[in-house]
Subunit: 511 residues, 2 copies
């Protein structure tokens, strides 16, 4: 078989797998939006059957044969060619899937599912003791899996794994390593703490009560749809539905759906939640359709994905220019805002306040929440912290970095779903997303000129087109850190993010 | 391998296939309710990938080996045992799937899909000439397929195929044969024509204009939901959504969804449409959950399915008792009905009027529409009618049986989607459904006493429970005609249906 023929076989087989897998994406969307209460049991069975099928296909020995027929051939000589990108990613996925024993895969899937269910039940009861056994099991299984993945190693274009945590991190942010994150997060912390102290010292307290007036859900939905259209989300290639925990999901090219939730007494959740998920969806809608079903056409990492959501939620959606455009309309849609001045509204949606809950945090304090989690995860996987000591360590770090400490577990160590699903190594991608976002945005302004005046005129196309060309269209062609360097001309740094915050909050708080 | 072990293998393999197939049911539901416009192309690819997978699984040679290990064993000695029912159905499906060459299967799938698309475009343009080539291709392919299925033969418990049309019919109504349908439909026609003549001769013209007052969609939806709840449809195990062409679909136990459409200037479509689909859904919700994913747990035929939908739409939903219960509430929900008397409303929703369109036909004329189609299909497949002569033959029979004739193709020979999808042999199941329904209902009244007084008190449970026990819970245990005999003590006959119409319309029209 020629390398071309082997590559063709791989393309066909993997695309077919992708079509089948995308039925799972539809089922996942339905499960969180439309499914009737009694449909969940069957849905779990459908998902399990699909997972078995996909695992079979991912470990099919023919993949190994076809890969062997392409690797080393001229077809993959240029490491950034479509074929090279795909073959490398398929090889890694194949080796990883085959390295995990079926016993472990099944146990992990079960433990994740049971852990999330337990968390949902035990968190409201603040039952840390009850939750701990689930966490223990998950930790043990994830650690075992990470040990195996250490043996497989990373993509050959990425740095080696130096510790077991790297193997976890790499599953969410390919190429990220703990030894690089630690100094980066340390510099970030220092900058954020400095800014936070100045903001708190300013004595200025924005009136956030105006965000808690009546905002009828139907009006929010209508307004959210207007914003989606204005920003460039294609509603003929997606839809917006209510859900409990908002998400964006790609079912296929031409079908990228988003969800949000409406609090009738709080403005931010529905509107900024929509803009956040829209950012994810704009990325997915901008991926190269002709490469759908292959790694080349996929989002490159969770961090880059999050950069797009945070860009539209914060850098665009919380800018003054954005609300110069849309606040007049918001006043029409929500009579409760009639007497509010633009400046007060803009300050309110950007109010900074150290708090206990990550998902409600402002742009300045958000990454301190992530920092706590990264430090705890590192300590856990380096054997420096026992699971039962997590709550104490959590409290200590919250006090140190945010100056607040939880009175209970549910708003402390049990607040996030991630650990209950065994997702250790996921949190850092949130902060990476914020840093990528600011670094991309600064470069876009360098190339396109100041963007806020465009937003103020309702012109989002130039910036979206820039993101499409520079980031979305690249799919997974480049490693995340290479993509950042190619787009911005510099390695990832905390500076653009700190500069952005500095400028924004100096103006907002009159520092 | 012991018969027990072989049967266990079959169960596991076929259940797994059923779980995967049910992802296709979800995708089909989504495609007709939720999907964004640009998602259709990808959906077609998903469905094609799933179809390829399912075909592979259905023809997997291991099925043949396992079947061979069970057949003839004591496990399947009782032909009505779960194992015997399943093994027989699996064998037939296996032989049928393997007998159809892949080339033909692919061509047919393509021709069906293209035919339906062409029909959607050409029908509004009344373009019969443009549609004819599609129909020709479909007819040729379906005929070829039917020839192959003739060779495979029917379920051993059913009568043999005597002509090629039987092989088509059997795909929708197992065991039904043209030679039995012809005299049955002839007697039915005679009875219907006699009743119709008396109704038309009565000179009575119900005021149907009252059904064309304003009925806001939101109010219809609310009212429809009330009816669903009252009748026993479990809304925690299903949902109701708007769509263009209403349907009911089972995604799995605990998840049986229905759809309807609301015309804001016509009462019947939304409300009776909902009751019709609810009837289908009640059947699916009543199938034995423990047998899900095996033939034993499936609906036995389209005719029996239709009997349940027509029961709830007509025998229940168009009864006076039903509206004694719900008309007062309808007046609250729809102010436009405020001045209408129950008797006039009841007469209006039962008004008899020969017309051109099957789906809008009343209970008396409906089966004459089906009769026309059956006669034409038989003539086509017996080589007595050429496709290009269909419009003329259509007009002639409409004139003879209904006294009306279409002025165009779109409300004539092109009105139904079925032929454009190659579904020849499907139509008779509609009439069989009406006949089964009346025969079941008569028996239920024999056993439970008069049902309308119960309906008038909102008591639907006794009749639903009766249907559940006698029909739904049996799944595919008995052949359709055997089920009818077991439940009613008599073979299928047109008499109960004619008796029902006679009684109802004599009272309504004062004959």
């Amino acid at each position: 078989m020629t390398p071309e023929a082997a590559y063709q076989k791989l393309l066909e087989f993997q695309r077919e797998t992708a079509y089948l897998a995308s039925l799972g994406a539809l089922a996942a969307w339905d499960q969180r939006t439309m499914i009737p209460k009694k449909g969940h049991e069957h849905r779990a069975q459908q998902m399990a059957a699909l997972a078995r099928l996909l695992h079979q296909r991912m470990t099919d020995p023919r993949i190994g044969e076809w890969l062997g027929g392409v690797e080393g051939s001229p077809l993959v000589q240029d490491p950034f060619s479509d074929a090279a990108v795909n073959v490398r990613a398929w090889r890694l996925a194949y080796e990883r899937a085959r390295a995990i024993p079926e016993r472990l895969a099944v146990e992990l899937a079960q433990a994740r599912s049971e852990g999330e269910t337990a968390w949902e039940a035990l968190r409201p009861q603040d039952d840390w003791k009850g939750f701990l056994p689930y966490l223990r099991r998950l930790y043990a299984l994830v650690r075992e899996e990470a040990g195996i993945l250490m043996g497989v190693g990373p993509d050959p274009l990425d740095p080696p794994f130096l510790e077991v945590y790297d193997a976890l991190l790499d599953g969410y942010e390919p190429g990220a390593r703990a030894k690089d994150l630690e100094p980066l997060f340390a510099r970030l912390r220092q900058g954020l703490r400095g800014l936070l102290d100045r903001i708190l010292g300013s004595g200025r307290r924005p009136d956030t009560a105006l965000l808690h007036r009546p905002f009828p859900a139907e009006a929010q939905r209508g307004f959210a749809l207007e914003l989606l259209r204005a920003c460039g989300y294609d509603l003929e290639a997606g839809r917006l539905d209510p859900t409990a925990h908002p998400f964006a999901i790609s079912i296929g090219p031409g079908d990228v759906r988003i969800t949000t939730r409406y609090y009738e007494d709080f403005f931010n959740a529905g509107i900024f939640g929509t803009l956040h998920e829209m950012g994810h969806a704009l990325y997915e809608q901008g991926l190269p359709k002709e490469h759908w079903g292959t790694p080349r056409g996929e989002a490159v990492s969770l961090g880059i994905h999050e950069s797009q959501s945070r860009t539209w939620e914060n850098l665009v959606g919380r800018s003054l220019g954005f609300w110069e455009r849309f606040f007049p309309r918001a006043k029409e849609v929500f009579p409760s805002l009639k007497d509010v001045r633009l400046q007060d509204f803009h300050l309110a949606v950007n109010a900074v306040e150290p708090s206990l809950i990550r998902v409600e945090a402002d742009e300045v304090t958000y990454n301190l929440h992530i920092l706590v989690r990264l430090e705890l995860e590192l300590a856990l996987f380096r054997g420096e912290l026992a699971l039962e000591d997590l709550p104490g360590a959590w409290e200590e770090r919250y006090r140190a970095y945010l100056g607040v400490a939880p009175k209970d577990y549910k708003d402390g160590v049990m607040q996030d779903v991630h650990w209950s699903g065994g997702m250790f190594g996921y949190f850092p991608t949130y902060t990476l997303g914020n840093l990528y976002a600011a670094q991309f945005f600064a470069k876009a302004q360098e190339e396109l000129g100041p963007l806020e005046p465009l937003f103020a005129r309702g012109e989002f196309r130039p910036f979206l087109d820039w993101s499409r060309t520079k980031i979305h269209a690249e799919g997974s062609r480049y490693r995340p850190r290479v993509l950042v360097e190619r787009v911005t001309g510099a390695p990832l740094s905390e500076r653009p993010f700190l500069t952005y915050l500095e400028g924004k909050y100096t103006a907002l708080y009159g520092l």
